[in-house]
């Protein structure tokens, strides 16, 4: 049995997800289930970065979306405008996202690290707003269109829903990253050191581990994750604008992270999928969309409130 399913609460949470999926299939909402999974994967990718930062430093990072948006702008500039091939352009995009995350850590997070976490939360929101303003200023306030790296649309069809190669890529990237990061934190010294810093920074420092370096590493890593999320999901949607990832994915991704348990990387994956399915169900089932304006957004909000009220540790998280 996987480690994250070892606890009773996690089993219950997983069982709920499975039952909901089964009910959807039985009630004719199979397509909503498929659509939810493939769109929720994008939320899960953003949620991974949120969980990574929270897990390592206890900070709710509201700038996560903008790390990804900067990567998308960089990819667009380098690939679409300058004509650099896609893969090198993506690497430049990842580097830009990592650089922004590092700068945030160095200029904002590190000086405020001993401040209350709420202060850091607000500080990251400030970084996000600043980034959006800069994107508006430098990049013109208009929508840009971006083509997917993988253009085939009909390779896989599940319950009548065609899943494009680009969506499969997002799903595969999410699964792979969730597993790799889970292994990283449980099996490697570096991962354990990061967890140690989040729990007892002074003791970790006394063990000869540089907290500053670890913090920089973690933020750079979360920048890379956000960059991947942005560069993989923007072509799926087909367009982006200033604040792209923040406006389209941050709130669902936060909900996914909370749903998954905030400290559980596999939980971010599960949370992303659950949020995607809930949104998809809300806009597909007549009982919702005929009675609720903006049912998708409402469903995300309801899900967030319900989880915070009934199970603050999330489906796969551990209660303190």
């Amino acid at each position: 049995m996987p480690r994250f399913l070892a606890s009773r609460s996690a089993l219950v949470g997983t069982a709920i997800v499975v039952v909901v999926a089964a009910v959807m299939v039985a009630s004719g909402q199979r397509q909503a289930l498929v659509i939810g999974v493939i769109t929720g994967a994008g939320y899960g990718l953003v949620a991974l970065g949120l969980v990574l930062i929270y897990k390592s430093s206890g900070v709710f990072n509201f700038a996560q979306g903008e790390f990804g948006t900067v990567a998308v702008y960089t990819l667009y500039g380098v690939h679409d405008l300058a004509g650099v091939p896609l893969l090198p352009a993506m690497l430049v995009g990842l580097a830009a996202a990592a650089a922004m995350a590092l700068a945030t850590e160095r200029v904002i997070i590190r000086p405020l690290f001993s401040a209350p976490r709420v202060t850091l939360l607000v500080a990251t929101a400030g970084v996000s707003l600043l980034a959006i303003s800069l994107e508006l200023w430098l990049g013109e306030a208009r929508i840009r269109f971006i083509q997917p790296a993988l253009g085939r649309l009909d390779r896989v069809s599940v319950f009548g829903v065609q899943v494009s190669d680009q969506r499969l890529l997002v799903l595969a990237a999410l699964l792979m990253l969730a597993v790799l990061l889970g292994l990283f934190f449980s099996r490697t010294n570096l991962g354990l050191a990061i967890l140690g810093v989040s729990q007892e920074p002074v003791a970790t420092e006394l063990m000869g581990i540089s907290v500053r370096r670890l913090s920089s590493f973690t933020w750079a890593l979360t920048g890379v994750l956000a960059g991947l999320a942005g560069m993989l999901t923007a072509p799926v949607v087909g367009s982006f604008a200033p604040g792209f990832l923040t406006t389209t994915s941050l709130i669902p991704a936060f909900t996914a992270a909370v749903l998954g348990g905030m400290t559980s990387l596999p939980g971010a994956f599960v949370g992303g999928v659950v949020v995607g399915v809930a949104q998809s169900l809300a806009v597909s089932a007549p009982i919702f969309y005929e009675n609720i304006p903006g049912p998708g957004a409402v469903m995300v909000f309801v899900l967030l409130v319900v989880v915070l009220a009934l199970r603050p540790q999330g489906l796969l998280g551990k209660s303190s």
Partner: protein, 526 residues
């Protein structure tokens, strides 16, 4: 503080921040957090006494023609019309004292008093038209919670020359430069002054040149009211114009009405705008376009299965009822009706595309933003579903939509107040020449949209005469004159009719060139 309590505190902080962000997002959703001035009620509409049909004939109409190469003749025609208008308008200040009682009165009694005062005070035929009960009633009720300012067209108000000097007329425009239906800012900036520069070279409007004040409404009705308020109260513009976005136009038009400021836009929804005293549509409303749209589906496309997809905003309720009624009357089978969010998520649009495919709709009537349209078409294509997208609107027929949306949008067809670039040289050769002259390049369709709208407004300002005031301007519009530009359709209004256009252009996407082309000009049906 224990670790547990610290976590709870942080979680609460995050929840509060998320709630605030969601609330901010909901502020852009239809029906949530909209500005109080933009909240029409059924009783408002009833009191307004709007005519059952906006197609009623306009008696004694006179044409102010600025179309094609005949623009030089416009001032003369405008001057003639202006004389009458001005005399009517300028006779009104003497009755200014009647205004407060009219404003303080409530309901139909107050309105009636104002109307009577107007009729008595001026005695002019045109002024009697402007004092008709329904329109005055609309002014009294249209402001929602805000008490309306003196109605410029009524004799009860003093001549209001805000924004007008001997050399300048200041006009405020709001448009979405950011948000879900953005105009590219460069294109918009380049195009907004071209007609006015062209006109200035020809002597201007009785020696006056037009100065444009522009604000981005972010495709958000609350923001739209905010920027309109800025333009009226701080920038002191003479009139307001809305470029696109039904919710934004409705919200701003209602604010403008409450302030007595003339407001013009391309035709959008009628719900919420019917009965507003100072509002005028410069092209057909969605409702007015529906007969031609349905006849095209039945007679030209020969399709029978129709799906209706609209933005999820209460302002489009009446539009949905209207297209449903016309489609059913034409024998079309409506296989799906749905609403999508203004900033619909990927999940929502993929679900919608899938549901449309499942419904078997051959034609999708679409009334949403270009971004939603392109994403929906792209998701449809990904599901091997390519219906014919068709609809009314202002922005979905722009070339940037074809550029970004082809091939997914296929041969999409949208009605439009203005033609596309393929026929503009035949209709109005001055546009490309002027654009080239003032901007140094070939004019685009966004510039054309601005050129056409400016041209209509220019004709109206000419008709209002040299002694320009908001009263004379509204008087000229209500006089029944026809305003012809050969770009926008001919429009004419009277004391009650504010939706005064009777034709539209039909555009079709040509994905081989990634542009839209004009397949019908000034059409009324098929």
């Amino acid at each position: 503080m224990t670790r547990r309590s610290a976590q709870v505190a942080v979680a609460r902080g995050a929840a509060i921040t998320l709630a605030l962000l969601l609330a901010a997002a909901c502020g852009q959703k239809p029906g949530v957090g909209s500005d109080s001035t933009a909240a029409p009620t059924a009783s408002d509409q009833a009191v307004a006494g709007a005519p059952a049909s906006q197609d009623e004939s306009l008696a004694g109409s006179e044409t102010v023609d600025t179309s094609g190469g005949s623009s030089a003749a416009a001032p003369a025609a405008g001057s003639t019309g202006a004389g009458g208008s001005t005399s009517g308008g300028s006779s009104t200040p003497a009755t200014g004292a009647a205004s407060p009682s009219g404003r303080s009165g409530t309901g139909s009694a107050g309105t009636g008093a104002q109307g009577n005062a107007a009729g008595t005070g001026s005695g002019a035929g045109r002024t009697q038209t402007s004092s008709a009960g329904p329109s005055s009633g609309a002014a009294g009720s249209g402001g929602g919670t805000a008490a309306p300012a003196p109605v410029p067209g009524s004799p009860a108000a003093a001549a209001d020359r805000t924004g007008v000097t001997d050399t300048k007329i200041r006009i405020g425009i709001h448009a979405p430069i950011t948000g879900a239906a953005p105009f590219p800012q460069n294109a918009f900036d380049k195009g907004k002054d071209v007609y006015w520069k062209y006109l200035a070279e020809k002597g201007g409007l009785f020696g006056r040149n037009v100065e444009i004040v522009f604000r981005d409404d972010q495709f958000n009705p609350s923001r739209a009211v905010q920027v309109c308020r800025e333009m009226v109260e701080q920038e002191k513009v003479f009139i307001l114009m809305g470029a696109a976005g039904s919710e934004q136009i409705t919200a701003c038009a209602r604010y403008a009405n409450s302030m007595g400021v003339p407001y013009l836009s391309a035709g959008v929804n009628e719900d919420g705008l019917t009965g507003l005293r100072t509002y005028f549509a410069t092209s057909q409303t969605y409702h007015q376009q529906h007969p031609a749209l349905v006849s095209y589906i039945t007679n030209k496309l020969r399709k029978t299965k129709l799906a209706i997809v609209l933005n999820n905003t209460p302002a489009l309720n009446e539009t949905q009822q209207s297209v449903t009624k016309f489609a059913q009357a034409a024998g079309l089978n409506i296989v799906r009706q749905s609403r999508i969010g203004k900033n619909a998520s990927d999940s929502e649009l993929l679900s919608e595309a899938n549901a449309l495919r499942g419904s078997g709709a051959e034609v999708v009537y679409l009334l949403t933003s270009p971004v939603n349209f392109i994403k929906l078409a792209t998701n449809g294509q990904a599901q091997a579903y390519s219906p014919i997208f068709m609809g009314p609107g202002i922005t979905n027929g722009l070339n940037i939509v074809a550029e970004a949306g082809c091939p997914a949008i296929g041969p999409a067809k949208f009605f439009s107040p203005f033609p596309q670039l393929d026929v503009i040289d035949q209709l109005d050769p001055d546009y490309q020449k002027s654009y080239q002259k003032y901007n140094g390049g070939k004019g685009d369709d966004i510039g054309l949209a601005e050129w056409g709208l400016s041209k209509v407004v220019g004709a109206m300002l000419q008709a209002a005469g040299k002694d320009l005031s908001r009263q004379s301007f509204l008087g000229a519009l209500e006089s029944g004159k026809e305003f012809a530009t050969n770009v926008y359709p001919i429009v004419s209004y009277n004391g009650t009719v504010r939706f005064g256009a009777k034709s539209a252009h039909l555009l079709e996407a040509d994905c081989s060139k990634r542009t839209f082309k004009t397949i019908a000009q000034f059409t009324t049906g098929f």
